[in-house]
């Protein structure tokens, strides 16, 4: 059961973010972290591998700094890592990301492609479905539980009121929700391994992608303008003297929301 786990590097939430003159995220001076949702996908891949055998490969589309996120995946136990990087990828939207990842995945051996649920920067949650379509595969998204059998996979897809049980053959794309498992901490052995493992690096020509279709050049959406939101200011704060509930109700009535 060979698995490809797609991971993303995102700006740290606490860092102050702004758009630059080109109306894109100003990334310099901001710390990059692995997308917090991805560690659940990495852990799930490792669990499946431990049960069924096979190889886990982490795949990341990023600038050179993406290697940091890949090394963290290796430190958790992932055996192989691939970075797809190219200056022409700057400014890629969800569509281009799905397309580029699919082209890279086609060069790898896989039974399952795993994703975290979404990224904390763009938060579109669109890429796993886009990849599933480009690869022509079944999709198991919002997966809270995954069971892998022979040539088939069953998942629990979270819904508003509970979950649906979904079954398909493999290969398949799976996007897992937070809480599907408890991600392991990297071991010291893993961290040493991460320093030694060679990361395969592919450019757009290696995966057969036309640069005009990706990056800012190929972007199908464009930012027209942006404005900082007025930061919320704190309002009145009262001490409870047995009357706080009444005061809250009065406030909500005054705001015409109750």
């Amino acid at each position: 059961m060979n698995i490809v786990v797609c991971i993303k590097q995102v700006p740290d939430t606490a860092a102050e973010k702004k758009l630059n003159a080109d109306l894109r995220l100003e990334r310099t001076g901001i710390e990059n972290i692995p997308n917090p949702f991805d560690e659940y996908a990495i852990e799930e891949a490792l669990k499946v591998k431990e049960a069924k055998g096979g190889t886990v490969t982490a795949l990341c589309m990023a600038p050179e700094t993406g290697k940091e996120a890949l090394r963290k995946a290796i430190a958790m136990g992932v055996e192989k890592a691939v970075l797809v990087t190219d200056p022409k990828l700057t400014g890629s939207d969800a569509w281009a990301t799905s397309y580029v990842l699919s082209q890279a995945i086609k060069k790898l051996e896989f039974d399952l492609v795993l994703f975290g649920m979404q990224s904390t920067d763009a938060t579109t949650g669109l890429v796993a479905s886009g990849v599933a379509e480009f690869l022509g595969l079944p999709q198991h998204t919002y997966t809270g539980k995954l069971d892998v059998g022979d040539g088939q996979v069953t998942s629990q897809r979270q819904t508003e009121g509970g979950y649906d049980v979904v079954n398909s053959s493999t290969p398949a794309v799976v996007a897992v929700v937070k809480g599907i498992n408890e991600p392991r901490y990297p071991s010291l052995k893993g961290i040493m391994q991460a320093k030694r493992t060679e990361i395969t690096v592919w450019s757009l020509s290696d995966i057969g992608v036309d640069p005009s279709e990706v990056g800012t050049a190929g972007a199908k959406e464009k930012v027209v303008s942006f404005s900082p939101r007025e930061p919320r200011k704190g309002g009145q704060v009262v001490q409870d003297e047995g009357d706080a509930a009444t005061k809250i109700a009065e406030f909500l009535t005054f705001k015409k929301v109750l």
Partner: protein, 325 residues
């Protein structure tokens, strides 16, 4: 005559609330631009759901009342939608940003090689082109975007961005002639497990009562469910409460949980750290109850109470019930 479509999710003939929001938005934009508002509905119950949309100003519906669009996950709906877009060339397709909506929109857009404007909170027409506003970076900035050179624009819209507006229209329901082949029937739903709580989905709730570390345990959440019930809202939670096992992950609000935009967000025993803030800071009104006067949440809540939530919350539930009588 160009068409603006609302993609409708429905269950057994009942359109979902977010789909009524999409229908209202489609009607509004159609009136602004001289287009026709239409609905696209699939799955068992599609025709019954279509009839109900006349009450939201929709004059036309494309329906496929076929069980395979309910039995198989995402792909058949996405492919049928893509085929229909290719055939009818609507100028705009509005899809509610739910788990199902996002998946279908993304898969259909990939099939058609179209871009998507995702998770927006406002949609307007600007000289015939769609212009959207979406929050970015946890709501700290608002970004206005457009699609580049697309015949059909696809937009996913957050819950609670639009209030459903009732207005009558004679709806004409057209059966979708095409169908998808076996190659689209990729993943089958074999069982549906639902906890029929009757509770409002968190992302669609107008009132959210959220609990954090200050609740101290699972039992304390019952208090919040009572208040939510009195308000007709939903219960949320901070990561601390979910990680502690006091409430399940679907209730989590924040960076690694859901982003919500209710009318009222009442945060109980929640400190207000940034990872939680980014999930709820665009709520209309924020109320905070915390025993620690230094909690960061008081710096951005509209009304704060320094006190014991175990005292305040039950009394608030009583107050609400009195007012609501």
């Amino acid at each position: 005559m160009s068409e603006i479509w609302a993609f409708i999710e429905q269950d057994k003939g009942e359109p979902k609330k977010i789909s009524l929001e999409m229908a209202t938005l489609a009607k509004r934009l159609a009136d602004q631009s001289g287009a026709t508002a239409a609905a696209v509905i699939m799955g068992p119950g599609a025709k019954a759901a279509a009839e109900k949309l006349g009450g939201y100003g929709i004059a036309k519906a494309y329906a496929k009342d076929d069980s395979k669009y309910g039995d198989y996950v995402i792909t058949p709906q996405a492919h049928l939608l893509a085929n229909l877009i290719r055939e009818k060339k609507p100028s705009l397709v509005l899809v509610g940003s739910t788990t199902t909506g996002r998946d279908i929109a993304s898969r259909a857009a990939a099939k058609l090689k179209l871009g998507i404007l995702a998770n927006v909170v406002d949609v307007g027409m600007d000289g015939g082109k769609v212009r959207v506003v979406a929050p970015a970076f946890g709501g700290n900035i608002e970004v206005t975007s457009q699609l580049v050179n697309q015949e059909t624009e696809i937009v996913t819209v957050r819950p609670n961005a639009v209030m459903p507006a009732k207005t009558t229209a004679q709806i004409q329901v057209e059966e979708i002639a095409g169908d998808v082949g076996a190659e689209s029937l990729l993943a089958k739903i074999t069982e549906r497990m639902s906890q029929e709580t009757g509770a409002v989905p968190l992302e669609e709730a107008q009132f959210i009562i959220a609990g954090g570390r200050g609740l101290g345990g699972e039992d304390a959440f019952k208090m919040l469910f009572d208040l939510a019930s009195a308000l007709g809202g939903a219960v949320g939670a901070s990561r601390a409460a979910v990680d502690a096992g006091w409430i399940s992950y679907p209730h989590q609000v924040g960076q690694t949980g859901k982003t919500v935009k209710p009318v009222v967000y009442i945060a109980c025993g929640i400190s207000g750290a940034i990872q939680h803030k980014v999930g709820m800071q665009t709520s209309d009104v924020i109320v905070a109850i915390n025993k620690n006067a230094d909690a960061p949440i008081f710096q951005f809540a509209d009304f704060g109470v320094v006190g014991d939530l175990f005292q305040v919350v039950p009394k608030l539930t009583d107050e609400v019930k009195k007012i609501r009588k």
